[in-house]
Symmetry: C2
Subunit: 146 residues, 2 copies
DNA sequence: TGTGTAATTGAAAACGTTTTTCATTTACAC
DNA sequence: GTGTAAATGAAAAACGTTTTCAATTACACA
């Protein structure tokens, strides 16, 4: 923990970000929890020790920490829905371009083995799954080869 | 297409829902597109033929169609983030309880083969993936065995 | 083919989350 | 210490979504 925290602080500094008490507080809130915390969760936790912090600062700090790869953003259930016609036996998954948002479909996914194992290990009764790959699509690769 | 549409209309009726022009319009908007449409997308499309429809009605219709299993909701990128500390080499995935939201972690995922194939077929350069199982957790199963 | 009624609709307002704006404060290089 | 650019927080705007409620409408039934 302390190790990780030190490393994170030095990363911030190295990237030219100032190390403010607010950032430290957000960092600690996340580090102290083994759960996923929403921005609001983090705001609430941080305010206990640090009343007066602005929610805006929490958002800004999260953006930075995420951009630096120090925390990771989890795509949790909520307001990010889109819909499509359910066509029978058309279970499929997506490849999404991180640059332009282009979507390609694919259908391959065989999780029967993994589902058995997980079910046994966790007691969950598995009902469905979500599989998504992200990457750069053909067009974006041509446009800006990295 | 016509077939699917007819089936859907009869399903609505069978479940006691009235078949209004607005519902038909939302249905057609989704059926006509092979893309995922957000509620706002659908609203825009529907309004072309059916100005005066309320966005509220779109939302309500989507809820119903989803509940009946006629369309499916896709978890697309957007505003549903939560954060956790990125611990090195801790790439992992989630099992999420659809009833209480409990989360269990697991680490197994080997997509190297699939990634190769997808990359070849689609031209995407794959950078990452998201895998999530949903189901009912141990506690929820004990509480309400289905 | 009317008629009654419960379901459905849309305007408006409320809501929760995230972003923008801007004046004030602060970290830190010198 | 001092100067300066970066960071903060209050407030308001901007989202996407839900609630409320009076007016409208689909459809079962006479
Ligand atoms: Mn698709
Ligand atoms: Mn986890
Ligand atoms: Zn692209
Ligand atoms: Zn549960």
């Amino acid at each position: 923990m302390q190790f990780t925290e030190k490393k994170i602080e030095s990363t911030l500094r190295r990237e030219g970000y100032k190390l403010t008490p607010q950032r430290r507080a957000v960092l600690n809130a996340i580090a102290d929890s083994h759960d996923h915390l929403t921005p609001a969760d983090i705001y609430d936790k941080v305010r206990q020790e640090h009343p007066g912090i602005g929610l805006v600062t929490v958002y800004r700090t999260l953006d930075i920490l995420d951009k630096l790869g120090l925390i990771c953003e989890v795509h949790s259930g909520g307001n990010c829905r889109s819909y499509l016609m359910r066509r029978p036996q058309e279970h499929h998954h997506h490849l999404i371009c991180s640059e332009c948002g282009a979507v390609a479909d694919f259908t391959e996914c065989d999780f029967s083995e993994l589902e058995h194992r997980l079910s046994r290990d966790t007691g969950f009764e598995i009902e469905g799954h979500l599989l998504e790959f992200s990457g750069r699509c053909h067009n974006c690769r041509k446009a800006t080869p990295s």
